[in-house]
């Protein structure tokens, strides 16, 4: 047992305060929600549809954007080029923008007058008030999480492993897929989960581009503003529970994935 000094006791006390600050409101929300209300909410089609919409749109946005975020992360980790720090600033920009402002920016881009909106219009797709528009708004505010985490993962791959692979006759693309990507995989998965989580919890940017179809955070706000706290709370509790289950599941998958990685390589 480590001996407690006055300093460590003070640190422990301050740490407990912040943990309590996170836990207390959530616990209060759960304690104030009756089981019957929760059951009723589970059976509410609007709630079920909005949670499902939130989950799949955020997942789809993360999945699709991973194909462009991972290459960018690799470039940021491995290449030196002029204005690199400006590019890094650009990547971090969505994190510091007010989310309603980010939503407005995305709305301008995807509305019929916008560049992407016009292009989508030519194939008969309206992005505003459409899951595709919601996905873009979610992605806009959450891509930094995936890019930065994957970048850290690639940067942590020792360069000499990549050099060794090159001297063994591997092409640069083979080095990427057999060495860099598998070794950085854990950080990429962490970034993927963070982007997915950030996307599904987004309200400000999404509400600017699509009030309908309603994602869960918008539905919670709508219930709260129309009917009050008591009606919004069960929806929140249900959404938090579903989100928790998904994160635990994804974390478990990412751990299993690491162990499979070692065995999966006796492929030849």
């Amino acid at each position: 047992m480590i001996r407690q000094t006055p300093f460590s006791l003070l640190m422990l006390f301050l740490s407990s305060l912040v943990l309590l600050f996170i836990l207390a409101p959530l616990t209060g929300m759960f304690l104030h929600t009756a089981g019957s209300d929760l059951l009723e909410t589970v059976n509410d089609d609007d709630v079920r549809q909005s949670i499902w919409l939130t989950l799949w749109v955020s997942f789809a946005a993360t999945f699709v954007f991973a194909f462009v975020c991972i290459p960018l992360a690799w470039i940021m980790a491995r290449k030196e080029f002029p204005l690199k720090s400006m590019v890094q600033g650009l990547i971090d920009l969505p994190v510091v923008l007010p989310h309603t402002a980010a939503g407005l920016a995305v709305l301008g881009f995807i509305s019929r007058e916008g560049v992407l909106g016009k292009a989508a219009d030519t194939i008969g797709l309206t992005l505003v008030n459409n899951p595709a528009g919601i996905a873009l708004a979610m992605a806009f505010v959450s891509v930094p999480f995936l890019i930065n985490s994957a970048r850290d993962g690639f940067a942590a791959v020792p360069e000499r492993l990549e050099k060794a692979a090159l001297t063994l006759g591997a092409s640069p693309s083979r080095v990427f897929f057999t060495i860099s990507l598998p070794i950085a995989w854990r950080s990429i998965i962490t970034g993927f989960i963070m982007m997915f989580a950030r996307g599904m919890s987004e309200f400000g940017a999404v509400v600017m581009v699509a009030y309908h179809p309603m994602i869960a955070p918008v539905l919670i706000y709508e219930r709260f503003s129309s009917f009050g706290l008591a009606y919004a709370r069960p929806v929140s509790v249900l959404f938090v529970l579903v989100a928790l289950m998904i994160f635990i599941f994804l974390r478990l998958i990412s751990v299993t994935r690491k162990e499979v990685r070692y065995e999966g390589n006796a492929e030849a």
């Binding site: 492993l161 063994l168 006759g169 591997a170 083979r174 006796a266 030849a268």
Partner: protein, 355 residues
């Protein structure tokens, strides 16, 4: 004899550091040891030969083919990194078979070749293991197997003994000697001259990006061109001297006014004298009247060494003397003992360079 690796006027700027006019010729089946301190450019030179970096000027020839602008994959060199660079996301089998999978060999061919090389290097029992559980010596063998399976024309080894336990060094050294005897041309970089003595057929000493001396290890270590090279051969007795010729006889006078009688020869006005620690004898009494280079001194320090014991004696100048443990026991000396030192004129060697 056929030249396997030839470097011709290689220059390369790497940040503030520069490799300057590197010229090396290594015959087929040669074992070239490149000696240098860390930061002297020796690992960079290996990366240039392997093709991981391109020289600013100069040419690299492997097996009579100019490979200066060839891709890494087309060079027929195998590079083993100092810390082995074993892929942690693959089993030992995955690591060794990597190059064959890159070249699209068939699975049964790959298995046969991996099992063959693993058998040769005594790691057949490790094939299903993950690298994280392997010892330094095992990782070294895996790295060698992974490289040798490509049948490289030149095997490049970056400090292959530096990260191995002392108890395993002899095994690895024996293994490298065996590989060389089979005809593999080896370039081995290290900071340890003992590796050069025990393995090299040719040695080059690199300092500040330039090769300052190269040749057979015996020649390089017995005739060092500079103080830097001399230090590498374990020589610790250096004296800055003025050379004095009288009646055709030469002597050297150190800054502390100690005179050394030299062999006949031609000497400059001043320079550097080296005396190998094992060329100096210690006596309890003055040897004999005819003794030429004899000095009375006091023992200042006694340290166990690879050779036996290193005795530091203050005799006007400070002398480092290597004696065996038996000699040490017979002499019965300790710190502050008065002793006599002697050495023959041929043991005092004037350095050709400025030192």
């Amino acid at each position: 004899m056929k030249v396997m690796l030839k470097l011709e006027g290689i220059n390369k700027k790497l940040g503030d550091f520069r490799l300057k006019d590197i010229n090396i010729n290594i015959p087929e089946g040669g074992y070239f040891v490149l000696l240098g301190r860390s930061g002297s450019g020796k690992s960079q030179l290996l990366e240039l030969i392997a093709g991981l970096k391109k020289p600013d000027s100069g040419k690299i020839w492997i097996n009579n083919e100019d490979v200066t602008n060839k891709k890494i994959q087309e060079r027929k060199t195998g590079l083993v990194f100092q810390d082995y660079a074993i892929f942690p996301n693959m089993t030992v089998y995955g690591n060794i078979s990597y190059s064959l999978r890159c070249s699209g060999e068939e699975k049964n061919v790959i298995r046969k070749r991996v099992e063959h090389i693993a058998g040769e290097l005594n790691i057949a029992h490790l094939l299903d293991r993950v690298p994280i559980n392997l010892s330094g010596g095992e990782l070294q063998r895996v790295a060698l197997a992974r490289t040798l399976i490509t049948s490289p024309g030149v095997l490049l080894l970056d400090e292959p003994l530096a990260s191995v336990d002392a108890s395993l060094r002899d095994d690895i050294r024996r293994l490298l000697r065996q590989l060389n005897r089979k005809g593999i041309t080896i370039v081995h970089v290290t900071h340890d001259y003992r590796e050069a003595v025990s393995l090299a057929s040719c040695v080059g000493v690199i300092h500040n990006g330039s090769i300052i001396q190269s040749g057979h290890p015996d020649d390089v270590f017995s005739n060092p061109v500079s103080r830097f090279v001399a230090r590498y051969s374990g020589i610790r007795n250096f004296y800055r001297v003025r050379f004095i010729g009288e009646d055709g006889k030469w002597k050297a006078r150190s800054e502390a006014a100690v005179d050394f009688v030299l062999e006949d020869g031609v000497y400059p006005d001043d320079g550097l004298i080296i005396i190998r620690s094992d060329s100096i004898k210690i006596h309890l009494n003055k040897p004999e009247d005819a003794c030429i280079n004899c000095y009375r001194g006091v023992v200042r320090d006694i340290i166990p060494s690879d050779y036996g014991m290193e005795i530091t004696v203050d005799a006007g100048e400070r002398f480092f003397v290597d004696i065996t443990r038996d000699e040490f026991r017979n002499l019965g000396i300790n710190e502050m003992s008065e002793v006599w030192l002697s050495f023959v004129p041929a043991a005092a060697v004037a350095l050709k360079g400025s030192g």
